[in-house]
C-alpha cells in the first residue's frame, strides 16, 4: 500500500528532515507515527500525497512511485488518499455538508450520488443531522470529525492524519481515534501522526517512532 525505501528529505535551506527512512504498510494496517515535534512526522505524511517530494529514495503509494509522479497525475493520487490535517482546513464560509461534498465535485459525481455519499460519511463520524450547520458552530472535536468525513467521502484506500487529536480533550480525542480504527476494520490503511503516547497505547496499532529524521 505504502512503502518508503531509503527516503531522505532535505528542505531548501539545508534543513534535513528525514534520512534513510524505510518502512511499509499493508492494506488495512493501522500505524501510529510518534516522536517529538520536528522529528519528521509531518514530512512523512506530506510525502505520501506528494505535497512534498523526497530528495532521494522512493515512496511507493498504491504501486506508484510518488517521487517521479507527473504534476498532472497528483490530483488523482490524492483522491485515493484521505487527508486529515491538524488545523482541519475546513472552509468556514460554507456548510458542513458543502465541506464534505467538496471532493466529490472534483471527480464529477452525480449530485444524487454525491449527496448519498456525503450523508453516509457524516453518519459514520456521528454528525448526521448537522449538514446545514456552519463549521464555526461546531466544537473542535466535531470539526475534526467533519474533516474526517471529507477525507473518507471519496472512499480512499489510505487515510492519513496529522495530529488529529492535538487540540481536543481526552473524550473527543478518543472518539476521533475510534473513528479511524473503524475505517481500518473495513480495509483502509490508516497512518496517524501523534505525540500522545498514552492514547496510542490503547489501540492495537503498529508504532513507528521517529527520532531526528530516522525510524528508531
Amino acid at each position: 500500500m505504502v512503502s518508503f525505501s531509503a527516503v531522505a528529505k532535505r528542505y531548501p535551506g539545508g534543513q534535513e528532515a528525514l534520512r534513510d527512512v524505510s518502512f511499509s504498510l499493508e492494506a488495512g494496517e493501522l500505524a501510529f507515527l510518534t516522536g517529538r515535534s520536528g522529528a519528521g512526522k509531518s514530512t512523512i505524511l506530506k510525502l505520501i500525497p506528494a505535497i512534498e517530494r523526497p530528495t532521494s529514495g522512493s515512496v511507493i503509494v498504491n504501486g506508484q512511485n510518488v517521487a517521479s509522479l507527473k504534476r498532472a497525475a497528483i490530483p488523482y493520487l490524492r483522491r485515493n488518499i484521505g487527508l486529515v490535517f491538524q488545523d482541519q482546513k475546513l472552509l468556514y464560509d460554507r456548510s458542513v455538508y458543502d465541506n464534505v461534498v467538496l471532493p466529490l465535485a472534483f471527480s464529477g459525481h452525480a449530485p444524487r450520488e454525491a449527496a448519498r455519499r456525503a450523508r453516509a460519511a457524516l453518519d459514520k463520524v456521528g454528525l448526521a443531522g448537522r449538514e446545514n450547520a456552519s463549521p464555526i458552530q461546531l466544537s473542535g472535536g466535531e470539526q475534526q470529525r467533519v474533516a474526517i468525513a471529507r477525507a473518507v467521502v471519496n472512499r480512499p484506500s489510505i487515510l492519513i492524519a496529522d495530529e488529529p487529536t492535538a487540540n481536543l480533550d481526552a473524550e473527543s480525542a478518543a472518539r476521533v481515534l475510534d473513528i479511524f480504527v473503524a475505517f481500518r476494520q473495513v480495509g483502509v490503511t490508516v497512518l496517524i501522526a501523534t505525540h500522545d503516547l498514552a492514547l496510542v497505547e490503547r489501540y492495537a496499532g503498529r508504532i513507528l517512532k521517529l527520532e531526528q529524521g530516522r525510524i528508531a
Binding site: 482546513k89 472552509l91 471532493p103 471527480s107 459525481h109
Partner: protein, 294 residues
C-alpha cells in the same frame, strides 16, 4: 462525458455567482472603454457610405473631340476595357451629359441660351491600380481624346484622411483591448486572492488544475461579453442622440444622411472579441497566480 458537462455547468454557475458579486463593475469599465473604438468604427462606417457615394477611388474623365462621330467614340471603349489598370469604364454620351447639367439647379436656363449642346462625348473611368499621372498621359495619347482630367487631389486627400482615421481607430482598439485584458487580469487576481484558502484546500484533496481554473475562465469570458454588450448599448444610445442633431444638419443640406448603427454581425463580433480578450486576461492571471500557489 456527463461528468465533464456537469463540471462545466458547475464552473459556469460558480462564475455567474462571482460575476454578480463584483464582476458587474469591471464589465462596466470594460464597456465604457470599448464604446470608444466601437463608436468610432460606427462613425467611420457611416462616413464610408458618404465617401463611396462620392467615389473614394480616383476617377478620371476622358473628354473626346467634339467633332468625333458616335461610332468612333464608342470604338474607344474596347481599348479602355482592355486596360487592366481601369476598374470601371462608363461611356457618357453628350446628350446625357447635357441632361445631367440641366438637372443642376439654375443651369438649364444657361444651356438653353446656348442653343446647341456644347458638351463632348466622354468616358468616366475608375482607376484600379497604377500611377495615376502615368495613366493620364497614356489615356491622352488615345485617338480622338481631347482632354483627360483626373480629379485625384481631393480623392487622395479624402482617402488619406479616411485611412488616418482607420489607423487611429486600430491603435485605439489595440490599446483598449490591452486595457480589457489588464482589467480582467486584475479582477481574476483579486478573485484568486479572496478564494485562496478554498483553492489551496481543493488542491490538497484532489482537485485538478483544470477544475480550479475553469470558473475563472468563465468569469473572464462573462465579464468580457458583458463589457462588449454594454459598449454596444452605449454606442447605440450615443448614435441615437447624435442622429437627432445630424438629421437637422443633413436636412439643411437637402440630404437624408444618418449615422448608421453597427450591422448586427459587427456588433456580435465586438461582443465576441471582448469575450475572447476577457478569456485571455483570465488565462494570463490564472496561469501566473496559481503557479505562485504551488
Amino acid at each position: 462525458m456527463r461528468a465533464w458537462a456537469r463540471q462545466h455547468r458547475q464552473a459556469f454557475a460558480a462564475a455567474l455567482r462571482r460575476f454578480a458579486g463584483g464582476g458587474v463593475l469591471s464589465a462596466l469599465v470594460i464597456g465604457v472603454a470599448l464604446a470608444l473604438p466601437a463608436g468610432g468604427y460606427a462613425l467611420l462606417d457611416s462616413l464610408h457610405g458618404v465617401t463611396t457615394r462620392a467615389s473614394l477611388d480616383p476617377q478620371i474623365s476622358i473628354f473626346l473631340n467634339t467633332g468625333l462621330k458616335r461610332a468612333e467614340a464608342q470604338a474607344l471603349e474596347r481599348p479602355l476595357r482592355a486596360d487592366r489598370r481601369l476598374a470601371k469604364v462608363r461611356f457618357v454620351p453628350r446628350e446625357e451629359a447635357l441632361k445631367e447639367l440641366n438637372a443642376v439647379q439654375g443651369l438649364s436656363d444657361v444651356t438653353a441660351a446656348l442653343g446647341q449642346n456644347p458638351l463632348p462625348d466622354a468616358y468616366v473611368v475608375t482607376v484600379q491600380a497604377g500611377e495615376i499621372d502615368l495613366l493620364v498621359a497614356d489615356l491622352a495619347k488615345l485617338p480622338g481624346v481631347a482632354h483627360v482630367q483626373a480629379d485625384t487631389a481631393w480623392a487622395r486627400r479624402l482617402a488619406a484622411l479616411a485611412s488616418v482615421g482607420r489607423l487611429a481607430l486600430w491603435l485605439l482598439t489595440c490599446l483598449l483591448g490591452f486595457g480589457l485584458v489588464a482589467v480582467t487580469f486584475n479582477t481574476i487576481r483579486l478573485q484568486i486572492l479572496t478564494q485562496r484558502e478554498e483553492i489551496e484546500v481543493s488542491k490538497l484533496i484532489g482537485a485538478t488544475d483544470a477544475f480550479i481554473r475553469r470558473p475563472f475562465y468563465y468569469l473572464g469570458f462573462l465579464q468580457g461579453v458583458a463589457g462588449g454588450a454594454i459598449a454596444i448599448v452605449i454606442v447605440w444610445v450615443a448614435l441615437a442622440l447624435l442622429n437627432r442633431e445630424v438629421r437637422v444638419l443633413a436636412e439643411s443640406f437637402g440630404s437624408a444622411f444618418r449615422l448608421s448603427f453597427l450591422p448586427p454581425g459587427d456588433a456580435l463580433a465586438v461582443i465576441g472579441l471582448a469575450g475572447l480578450l476577457g478569456w485571455l486576461g483570465a488565462h494570463l492571471s490564472v496561469s501566473k497566480h496559481l503557479r505562485e500557489m504551488d
